[in-house]
Point group: C2
Chain length 159, copies 2
Amino acid sequence: MSFIMYKAYLCKTNATMISKTCEYAIRATLFIAQKSLDDARTGIKEIARNIDSPEAFIAKILQELGKAGLVLSAKGPNGGFYIDDRGMNNTLADIILAIDGDKLFTGCGLGLKTCSDKKPCPLHDEFTAIRQQIKNMMQGAKIGDFRNSLALGEKFLRR
Amino acid sequence: MSFIMYKAYLCKTNATMISKTCEYAIRATLFIAQKSLDDARTGIKEIARNIDSPEAFIAKILQELGKAGLVLSAKGPNGGFYIDDRGMNNTLADIILAIDGDKLFTGCGLGLKTCSDKKPCPLHDEFTAIRQQIKNMMQGAKIGDFRNSLALGEKFLRR
DNA sequence: ATAATAAAAGACATAATTATCCTTTATTAT
DNA sequence: ATAATAAAGGATAATTATGTCTTTTATTAT
């Protein structure tokens, strides 16, 4: 006996807290951080393979992360991406801000441009609280914090 | 003296907790609920005007909400959309589920399909907690709850 | 019955995001 | 110096989400 399952909802919409681009950015950064533990540089191919992303796309994203100072890179043989001690203190909030901007931390839950404390949407207070919590969580999450659990195989970056 | 401001981030990404489509859906539903207070039906033009959305687009969305049983509709003269007492007990979670699916409530924060308690991404526990909180908030927010504050002009649906 | 109204349905168009490709520039090893 | 390597940069393509238009169906008032 077998069942066919149907989704009960439409869902051609895009609603993720963090954009796909930014997800790749975070996964790549955490992977580079892990590799940088023993001063090793890692290249685009290796990164793409290990975080399960398209090569060309993560290359583009890494350019942005480089401009934002969140990863370092070196061209040529033995080149690649790496993160120094200073970079290990950057947070997930920094990555999110660099790629997605601040909408995760500040926007109105109903997409109202004029939503504010004075002219609140019906969800204003609830969303304000939740966003603040997310912000705290992301600002508290340093890149370096994840290295050990990743290296030990307690946490994972591939799907 | 004047300044030109530049955004410090890229941001060609999409990262909203709730899709634009779903935002319209919520705003429309709350507006219809408000109108339904005194048994009045409201049409697409009026809805679009009051929630500041494209007419044709909200029409499409209302079809989905109708199929999902979240709003009722009647064709012809004096027709329009309305919500009955039963419908007033539906929650924002129901609308979100009907339009965006359950990704807001369940997805991995880093977009990993295999993320789970057993094979967690580095943000697994934090995201699980936050999503649960959002879910609670949305499941607790009944459509009918918003009617009064909207009618009194304490809360707003237009941008 | 007929005309007018308003939502349902389906096809189509636009815009935004995600993804790819190709050339250029910088660096290293020979 | 030269060839090989690897990231940077720029242009373009594919996909997905958002938005529009036109026809059909159901209902109501005349």
